[in-house]
Amino acid sequence: MNTPRDPASLPRLLISMVALLLLWPGLTLSEFNPGVWFAADNRATIAGFLADFWPLAHDADFLRLVARATLETLAMATAGTALAFLIGLPLALIVTQALSRRQFSGARTSAGSFIRAPLRLLLVILRSVPEIVWALLFVRAVGLGPTAGVLAIALSYGGMLGKVYAEIFESVDAKPARALLAAGSSRLQAFGYGVLPSAAPELVSYSVYRWECALRASVVMGIVGAGGLGQQVELSLRLFAGAEVASLLLAFVLLVALADGLSRLLRKALLT
């Protein structure tokens, strides 16, 4: 009877209540209204559309189209992430404090900080513009199709990878790299021998996770005309072709499940 009360329970309760209080105005502001679901005409439209989902569209021509769109989405996400890696890694290497030689140079500020500041800003700009906005821009610039999607992913994810990579470099023990710098190695050498061994698992795991996100994002970007599954979904939606939408969504679910399984395997292999 006399077990002491969990001292954390009261603060937790208070935090939950405060969170609810803060959420409520948000819900009203965003005009979230469950009532629309029950309006009769809305219900009929939705019901008809959903009833159309089964059986799935599965004629040979359409399946070929789905396969093509799936591959396009996969290619878009992969190429975009690869480009993002090429943008993010060098920026992270320049921006990170982990390889700063300032502590030995005796100077209070180094030339490095003058280069780092604008590049940090560049990373902020790259990732603060959402990929969908980049996609809209590139659809205008290079036309409909996956190229716009690839470029959009490359830029926004390049910014994210650059920032997170730099943070991962800074989170691992800095002493090995510092010792190598002190023994006359260059910054890149100190990175390869002092930082990379400890950072590699996290780097790969985060990059794979980003690739997964890119898959999802590429579907959304398809809807604004950047090719792949998304563009097909948008076309079928516009035609109220429920069966086609269902097939496309199924293909997308399978794709994401596949990516999920793959990245889980990779991470497991890395963390042992």
Partner: protein
């Protein structure tokens, strides 16, 4: 590599004075032990000699020049000829021993060669030779986190041996080893330094080992050189004065009864 300190002092960023007015002259190929109580400034002195921290006062000459007047490029080249052995070797836990040892020569390698070496170790023979001197050749392909503290310290030493540094600075290099192994390892380090003609300065907490293995002893206390003598000339009184601690009750003199260990 010879070196010379005249009136060198060092103050940490927080205003703590770690080294005061040091005068020191070391000839090429000398082997010197630095002893002194905890906080005396041994690590600070070794880092200063290794060009990791810049003296706040005085003149520091390494070889024939003052390192802090070099261009960054020349300073880097100079650093690649200096090997610092750390008390806790700064090695990534996931790195393999062979890679950790080969990293000793990064300062002499091109970027391309270092990348190739990262993918597949290029000089297995060299790493094995350095490790064999310290009885560690069987750990070549082990990962660093699979080693004991004493084994890890020896990997750190092997790295500097492989580097063939002209100035070897060892900061309590055998603190994690049993007395027997510590003696054996220090002996190997002294022998290797002598073979390469490298200058060796080592800070040690075991006075017996210092007196037995090093011809010249520097006693450091409160950032000052208390004495700088040949090993035979160091008297027990000087040692107890060096380690005397007003704040600790136990007399310092009982800890110091020099063992008789053959000189190398």
């Amino acid at each position: 590599m010879q070196l010379q300190l005249s009136g060198v002092g060092f103050t940490h960023a927080d205003g703590h004075v770690a080294l005061r007015e040091l005068h020191l002259q070391v000839a090429q190929g000398e082997q010197i032990a630095i002893i002194g109580p905890s906080g005396a400034g041994k690590t600070s002195l070794l880092r200063l000699l290794g060009c990791q921290i810049k003296p706040s006062l005085g003149q520091f000459q390494l070889g024939t020049q003052q390192p802090w007047q070099h261009s960054p490029r020349a300073l880097r080249a100079l650093r690649s000829r200096i090997g610092l052995i750390h008390q806790q070797p700064p090695l990534p836990p996931k790195q393999r021993v062979i890679t950790a040892v080969l990293a000793g020569r990064l300062g002499q390698w091109s970027l391309l060669h270092s990348l190739r070496n990262l993918l597949s170790p290029q000089d297995r023979q060299g790493a094995e030779t350095a490790l064999a001197r310290l009885d560690l050749a069987d750990k070549l392909f082990q990962r660093c986190d699979q080693l004991s503290g004493g084994q890890l310290q020896r990997v750190g030493i092997a790295r500097v041996l492989y580097q063939q540094a002209e100035l070897m600075l060892a900061d309590e290099p055998v603190s994690a080893m049993d007395p027997h192994l510590a003696q054996h390892t220090l002996r190997s380090l002294c022998a290797a330094a002598a073979e390469q003609g490298s200058t060796l300065l080592a800070s040690l907490h075991t006075v017996d080992l210092a007196l037995a293995l090093f011809p010249r002893i520097i006693g450091l206390r409160d950032g000052r050189i208390q004495f700088d003598l040949p090993a035979q000339a160091v008297s027990p009184e000087q040692l107890s004065a060096l380690y005397a601690n007003e704040r600790l009750a136990s007399p310092a003199s009982t800890a110091l009864n020099p063992l008789r260990i053959a000189r190398c």
